[in-house]
């Protein structure tokens, strides 16, 4: 056998460095276990519960009928003549098709998306915030991740010795750490405050910024609201403080707002960064801000269809030209994902034939999620040695676990982080797949895990019972 051309020794070191825990070794093992079960293997469990990823449909959530109808008509326009498809779905589909070259979703759209859909997104934002939004600032993308990476990429450069730095919350969603590693940017982690329900702590942000300044050039600040993996929903005060912080330090703001529909806790409300900067007036309404939305989350849960958008405010026009050029080499985001976004930002209105069903389905999903958010928190807080903040929003809980010294020692001996060790034990014993806190970041010496709240209520109940049983046994074993 010849020497290979591309090997671990000579390949891109940044790809080697990047980690993406949500799909890491635990998930690979979980998939293996599923296959083993299918093949008839005997395990201490009969089903693998994938609570590792915010994948609602995989956990039994049903699609929103209206969205699926519109996209189906776009694909098969003869359904326009099918009386079982409602008129408003037909009207939306007609409008999407009219925005496509040759009236076919099989043609490439502009790289920034179909103009009529971009206009609907801008109207949606304007209605949500009560402040103007320009369709030319809307960039449709195949899921929010693509949008985030595309804009972060603009900041990459390695020629001045000092890497550009990106401030991200810890714990964070690993898309950020993975992209920062891949792009060879400098990661500036600021800890969220577990004692205030994972709130933003300005003095901690200040500490992180000051320490990083010595080794990098801070350029951007990422805020995830509602929080992933923390489930925190930022107060308006908190958001204003962050905006001032970013302005004083001349940072480009990334507002990851993909969970904007997922707010459950009493007294919590979603405030977009765009709205708050707008209302704070100059100079804050002049700041560079990119906000991201997705059809994968909310009540839609259409992860596989890959739809999303970025709203890019106050970007330098020359930089924006370069940004648009850079996405043109990827041709266009999936037109079907764009059609999904068209439904999300322009759903059935009162008086339209699909309105009642749409509202029932949407409310059904969101109220069930709210109920499950409570269930999860109560369950974990009732387990000795676990503590879990309120899940105010998003789709996750991030409980802390107290691990016995002996378990920590056993983990070290096995060459694993203690929370990874714990998660593997959980998986092998119960079939429950969660993501260890180290995949998101946590204060040294503390251990957490992220679980989604997505298993359907009955399944979630069983999962939580099995979890409690496992944890009790685990602690006993290593006490």
């Amino acid at each position: 056998m010849d020497q290979r051309v591309v090997t671990l020794d000579n390949m891109n070191p940044h790809v080697i460095k990047m980690e993406y825990a949500v799909r890491g070794p635990l998930v690979i093992r979980a998939t293996q276990l599923e296959k083993e079960l299918q093949a008839g293997a005997q395990k201490p469990f009969s089903v693998v519960t994938k609570a590792n990823i915010g994948d609602a449909h995989a956990m039994g959530q049903k699609p929103i009928t209206f969205i699926r109808q519109v996209v189906s008509i776009c694909l098969t326009p003869t359904l326009l003549d099918d009386p079982s498809f409602p008129d408003d779905a037909k009207q939306r589909a007609r409008e999407v098709m009219a925005g496509c070259k040759g009236s076919s979703l099989g043609s490439y759209s502009d790289s920034a998306g179909i103009e009529s859909i971009r206009r609907h997104v801008a109207s949606y934002i304007q209605a949500r915030d009560g402040h103007p939004s320009s369709w030319e600032n809307i960039i449709l993308c195949s899921g929010a991740s693509e949008g985030i990476r595309g804009i972060m990429k603009l900041m990459v450069r390695h020629d001045n010795g000092n890497k550009p730095g990106v401030m991200i919350p810890i714990p964070q969603y690993p898309l950020y750490s993975a992209s920062i590693a891949e792009f060879d940017l400098h990661q500036i982690g600021y800890y969220l405050d577990e004692s205030t329900n994972w709130g933003l702590d300005l003095s901690e942000m200040e500490r992180a910024y000051e320490e990083a300044k010595a080794v990098c050039t801070p350029k951007a600040l990422v805020v995830i609201n509602p929080g992933n993996p923390t489930g925190n929903v930022l107060s308006r005060e908190n958001i204003e403080a962050v905006i001032k912080f970013a302005h004083e330090r001349n940072l480009f703001l990334f507002a990851d707002e993909v969970y904007q529909d997922n707010v459950y806790a009493d007294g919590c409300k979603f405030h977009s960064f765009k709205k708050v900067t707008s209302e704070m007036g100059a100079p804050y309404n002049q700041m560079e801000l990119a906000s991201f939305m997705s059809c994968s989350k909310g009540y839609m849960g259409e992860c596989g269809l890959r739809g999303g958008y970025a709203e890019v405010t106050n970007m330098d026009p020359e930089v924006k030209t370069m940004y648009l050029k850079s996405i043109s080499a990827k041709l266009c985001p999936t037109t079907l994902g764009q059609a999904v976004m068209a439904c999300v930002v322009n759903p059935p209105r009162e008086g339209e034939p699909s309105y009642e069903q749409f509202l029932t389905e949407k409310k059904g999903v969101l109220s069930s999620l709210a109920q499950r958010a409570k269930m999860v928190v109560e369950a974990f807080n009732s387990v000795p040695g676990m503590s879990c903040n309120i899940v105010q929003g998003a789709m996750y809980a991030f409980p802390q676990i107290m691990l016995p010294e002996k378990a920590i020692a056993a983990a070290r001996k096995a060459g694993q982080e203690p929370d990874v060790f714990y998660a593997f034990q959980l998986l092998e014993n119960t079939g429950i797949c969660i993501v260890p806190g180290s995949g998101f970041g946590q204060r040294p010496g503390t251990y957490h895990f992220r679980t989604t709240i997505l298993p359907q209520p009955e399944m979630l109940k069983t999962m939580l019972e099995k979890f409690r049983e496992f944890h009790t046994k685990f602690v006993e074993q290593y006490q």
Copy 2:
């Protein structure tokens, strides 16, 4: 106004450097002209003809019914009960859904795609080539571009002074030059031989390689077959010679084979690199090879739906692990694009209800394209001062144009490349949008343009007449 955070002066210089001519300034102007016409402006033409991009549906090609039916059913499973949808489409949709978590295409698939579809791709390749293909080597992606960029990215590194080099044909498809610029790799251009219908010339490849060795570390060789923008189809001999060339120099092979269904000329046949390396035996069947396919081209033309695959052969297993990890941060390719690919590799078979219609539609598209390929070549060769090689395959012609000295001088005065100047004049006078040869690369002192052969026959005829008229006037003007 504050100083912006991200400016042209401090942004990613590689994004500034990259160019993507297929969607460049000419196309932006063409879109502007369309809007002006819609707004009632008077122009020397009433319609803009976008012959700049291989976008079949935009030019009036109809979708393949079977593909659209399968994907519609996947979205709206109640269509399984609709008697107007054929059984084979239902069976394919059922199989795709069965491969999705929660039976919904709204769930994330594995990052490499839905296993059952990856298996069908492998069977398709095996049947096409007569040699084994492993489903674990198949990576589904949102269009071939994503696959190409994902694998090229593995080779990036900047720490040893010498950049990795990638050999690409000149003229080339600008995805390659754009990605090489963005990734800060070294572009090694080897000229195709216009005098042998854009054939590969080993001595020219040797020259390019030897010259580049001094300034970079050549790592990969890209071949586009059938050729874009050249329309050339490689002979088996030619392919064998290239494989030997790459093997001797230890290069990773990229076989861009997205036009494998688009072969028109008598005596021409598509040979996949995988088949040829397999049949050449050791050591050639041990070479690292990535081959790419797409649903955007062929007879499907489903550009907007974003489906494609890479077959990755003999990649170092550790590198492959890193590759799979790197794509996991993008979560998954669109499941609907994957469903399209499922149809492409597993179309209706003889005896199935959709077989006749599918075959009629497929043959209809391909025979019309073959006819248009001839039309275009004949038309351009009948214009004095133009010469055009046979379009053996793909969707493009790349004619050479002789520009008068005065036109070249006028272009220089306007600060444009002469072929860009020509293309802008063509656009402003006729509404025809083509891409200047400089966007693909050409031998210095020669001028070309790329046009698609995609406008429907009547439209194409009109376009060619207008083109001839323009060219004659242009030459007269600058003679």
